[in-house]
């Protein structure tokens, strides 16, 4: 009898847990909610951020219910490719390699690359390539990672042993404070958040390198969905909705 109860418990638990997973007509959107202010969880444990609110508005205008699926950034492209999720919004820049695996919507925002250092950093940093002279940190799989790899390491400007790749930006910021790296390269918006939350850190240089426009990622061959999302993005831009969101999340 006891055993039976235990079994029942396991089954119920499993059912309860599966009930939260992908169901039918909802639009399942993946994001890596560890990248404020683009995407993060708020104090109540809900998804929040620039991307999140934007996508919610897009879904509303498409008249579909959105179902969020959080997963690590590294898993997102593959999850879209394998049809585990219907779309992903997670501050994705366009790149040719990614474009071979998935489709992109039109850009909805444009960002820059930023270099963060401790406030007492006094060494020379006048152009992006100067980063090669220091111990660098970057979030792995990002456009910044790609820029460092292609422009600094493969060109021989720096050795790969001077680069630390992190799963998340906040981990890199901790190491920056601990002195294990000298410079952290990141998208300017999250970089701005980190610098504003921490009195010891500041942005020392900004430039648009490999980053730039950010887009929603869609499975290959989803032309209808792509067209509809592009139409709504254009609409939202024209209405000034996206600009208002940017001010709310990035500059307030």
């Amino acid at each position: 009898m006891k055993h039976r109860n235990a079994l029942l418990l396991v089954i119920l638990l499993a059912l309860a847990l599966t009930a939260c997973q992908k169901t039918s007509d909802n639009l399942v959107v993946g994001t890596s909610a560890d990248y404020p202010p683009y995407e993060y969880v708020d104090e109540a444990g809900n998804m929040a951020g620039f991307d999140i609110e934007l996508m919610a508005e897009i879904a509303k205008r498409m008249d579909v219910k959105i179902e969020w699926q959080d997963m690590p950034f590294d898993s997102l492209i593959q999850a879209v490719q394998e049809g585990k999720i219907d779309a992903s919004i997670s501050c994705f820049n366009y790149s040719e390699e990614r474009a071979q695996l998935v489709d992109f919507s039109d850009p909805y925002h444009t960002s820059e690359d930023a270099f963060i250092a401790m406030k007492d950093f006094t060494k020379k940093f006048t152009k992006a390539e100067d980063a090669a002279n220091y111990k660098l940190g970057v979030q792995s799989g990002t456009m910044q990672d790609e820029w460092i790899t292609e422009e600094l390491i493969e060109t021989g400007l720096m050795s790969e042993s001077n680069l630390s790749r992190y799963e998340r930006v906040d981990q890199a910021a901790l190491d920056l404070k601990a002195g294990r790296i000298d410079i952290l390269m990141a998208d300017d918006v999250p970089a701005g958040v980190i610098a504003s939350q921490d009195d010891d850190l500041e942005i020392i240089y900004k430039e648009m390198l490999y980053t730039g426009p950010i887009n929603i990622v869609l499975p290959k061959g989803s032309a209808d969905l792509q067209a509809e999302i592009n139409r709504i993005i254009a609409e939202l831009k024209a209405e000034g909705f996206i600009e208002k969101l940017a001010i709310k999340y990035f500059y307030e």
């Binding site: 499993a14 599966t18 939260c20 909610a33 969880v41 997963m71 898993s75 906040d170 981990q171 939350q197």
Partner: protein
Amino acid sequence: MDFAKFFQYIASGTAYTVGVTLIALPFGLVLGLILSLMHVYGGKFLSRIMAVYSTIMRGIPPIVLLFILYFMVSGNINLSPFWAGSISLGIVSSAYQMEIIRGALLSVSGSQMMAARSIGMSRMQAIRHIIIPQALRLAIPPWSNEAAIVIKDSSLVYALGVPEVLRRAQLISASTQEPFLAYITAGLIYFALVFITNRLLNRLEKRLAIPANP
């Protein structure tokens, strides 16, 4: 920051951590038992295959296997990340559990099989009534080690998008800039789960053990 909410958010991932473990561990046990029996009693050919299975599965980092199993094997069947992750983890664990049970089977086997045959048991009966019960009893201590490993490895399913304890700690750490507090909380939860599990298994071991001096 509201600390009660902070802890509650991380702790609410415990249900997933426990759920993944409760599926992965028994799944791995049943599979591991079957595979270990094939390894020990299945003849040369099966034994070879099992050895290869074990070497491959134990030679690849669990996270890599998890990805391969999730994205490739479950590519066509629409399994939720929770189920796919749990079963994949169970498959990974089956290789380790196979080795644990195989070791126990071998340490019982030989003369015990002879003894069983001489009281009139067939090979199958001997395996079922004599070898397996004794082997499982012997396997409890190393198995509780594996149970602890599976509890901790259950955190790997975060990579598939299951909001378990570790992933929640990551998310809250990113949004509050309190990584130390977040990871300490997660660490304590894992520790508590492993501690309780080991306690329960110790009890089970004592209950099944035969008193040396009654």
